[in-house]
Every structure is written in structure tokens, then in C-alpha cells.
Symmetry: C2
């Protein structure tokens, strides 16, 4: 396999990112790869916020992975800045290749560069393989994640 690059997402990457989001047991019900307009608007909101880092992993000029890292300042834990990882996706053909580890390692390193002392993420209770993966990378399943659609 050729070299992998992890770089900030560009507007041209939107179709490939949405395809990754949709190619997922949960995402298939939630995404509309045939209608990119809402994603393009959301991309503009992301690009305008310096605390958002949407990245893609690219191999052979093809987007094969993505994640979003958000930097969140706060008062708790002695004013610790934390980061939140969202929307981690790895192309089906790349699973087992170590790309997930590369992406999360990138996010941890970027969090450190941004002065964060804590990295956090939530994973749907149904994704048990993902839970083992995060624990292998040193994360602790210390919290319950609550969601409310509004």
C-alpha cells in the first residue's frame, strides 16, 4: 500500500466524506449522499470555526477515512481544554489496515498540540468492536453518553 496522508478536508472532499458517513449501519439511515446541499452548508460552518478540525485520510488520491476534532476550552479540571472526536469513519476496504489507529493517533497528537489535557468521544452502545478498539488505544469507558434529538 502507498503512503497515507491525513490532511484538513477541502470542499472537494465533501462527496467522499458523505459516502463514508453513509456506508455504515447507523449512518445509512441518517445520511443523504444524493443531496449534498446541507453538507456543503455545514462545511462552511466548520471552516469558519478555528476550534473545528475536519480531516481526511487520503491514499492513492482517494479519501479512505475521516474524523472531526473539536477543541473545547472550559473551567473544570483546573481550566483544562479538552477535545472531542466525532464522526470517525474508515473505508470498508481499509478496515484492519491500522488506519483507524492512525486517525485516532493523529487526533491525540493534534489535541496535545492544541493544549488539550483530555480527549473524549462517545460511541453508540451497539458498536462493541469500536469499544474494544478505543480501549486498546488507552481510552477508558468511564462515562455514559446521553443524546436528545430536538
Amino acid at each position: 500500500m502507498n503512503d497515507l496522508e491525513i490532511r484538513p478536508a477541502a470542499p472537494e472532499d465533501i462527496p467522499a466524506i458523505v459516502a463514508l458517513l453513509a456506508d455504515d449501519p447507523l449512518g445509512a439511515r441518517r445520511e443523504t449522499p444524493d443531496d449534498l446541499a446541507p453538507y456543503t452548508e455545514a462545511f462552511e460552518r466548520l471552516a469558519a470555526d478555528p476550534n473545528q478540525h475536519l480531516v481526511v485520510a487520503v491514499r492513492d488520491q482517494r479519501v479512505v477515512g475521516t474524523l472531526q476534532l473539536t477543541v473545547i476550552p472550559g473551567l473544570s479540571r483546573r481550566g483544562a481544554t479538552r477535545s472531542v472526536i466525532e464522526a470517525v469513519r474508515v473505508h470498508a476496504e481499509e478496515r484492519g489496515s491500522g488506519l483507524g489507529t492512525r486517525l485516532i493517533t493523529w487526533a491525540i497528537d493534534a489535541s496535545r498540540s492544541e493544549g488539550c489535557h483530555l480527549v473524549q468521544l462517545t460511541s453508540d452502545v451497539s458498536r462493541s468492536d469500536a469499544h474494544r478498539f478505543y480501549e486498546r488505544l488507552g481510552f477508558t469507558a468511564s462515562h455514559v453518553g446521553f443524546k436528545l434529538s430536538i
Copy 2:
């Protein structure tokens, strides 16, 4: 009891907020109310970020509650903006008064005003009372929350 006001936190509220963060089984080990310098620096980072909303609940000119709401744009779920609630604290003398509900209801309303379609939070697995509280407010414990200190 007199009227309660929920308003943006001001620098003068920092000591009271830190006291609330520290008056907690988990926070007691993590906070330093005798050394406010790191909190003052963190407050400046929060104030500079338009997607951060640190609020206090005030009754009789006394800070009796706090929470932080963060607005996070994103591509997933058709470009849905979400919000994250962190650092919810209610003064010991106010517990059972409905203040927690007032704070979370404020956060949900503010999230709606900011165009969010999802509100999320994580709660330490040891806080079982908090879990029942969030479920009563309509949240679903659908996720596992992972943390990594760096």
C-alpha cells in the same frame, strides 16, 4: 424562594463557579479553588469563542448553579449542528429544588435557538442519580463515553 436568573457568566463569577465545581465527589479531587489563575485564563478562552456559552444560575445575588454549552457544527446527520453540555453543577442547598431541570431546559432551549438538532452530554458511570435525571428529561443513554487523559 425568590426568582432565579440564568445568565452568561462574568469574570466576577469565577470564584463561585470554581467553588461549585469543587463541591462534588469527583470535582473535589480535580479542582483548586485556592488557585484561581488557571480558571481565569480558561475563562478568557471561553469568552473568545462564540460557540461557548458558560452560564450561571443566580438566586438572591448568589451563584447557585452553572453549566457550559458548546455548539458544534458537523457533517454527519445531514450536516446537523449539535450541542454538548458540560460541567453541570447545582449548589448543595438547591438540590431537589428543580434547578437542575431549569438549567438543562435552558440548555435545550438555547441549543434550539442556535439551530442544533441534537443535544448530548456524558455523565460519569458513578453518577446514577444524574443518569435517572437525564432520562426523565428525555435523554437516551445510547452511547458509551470514552476519555483519555493526555
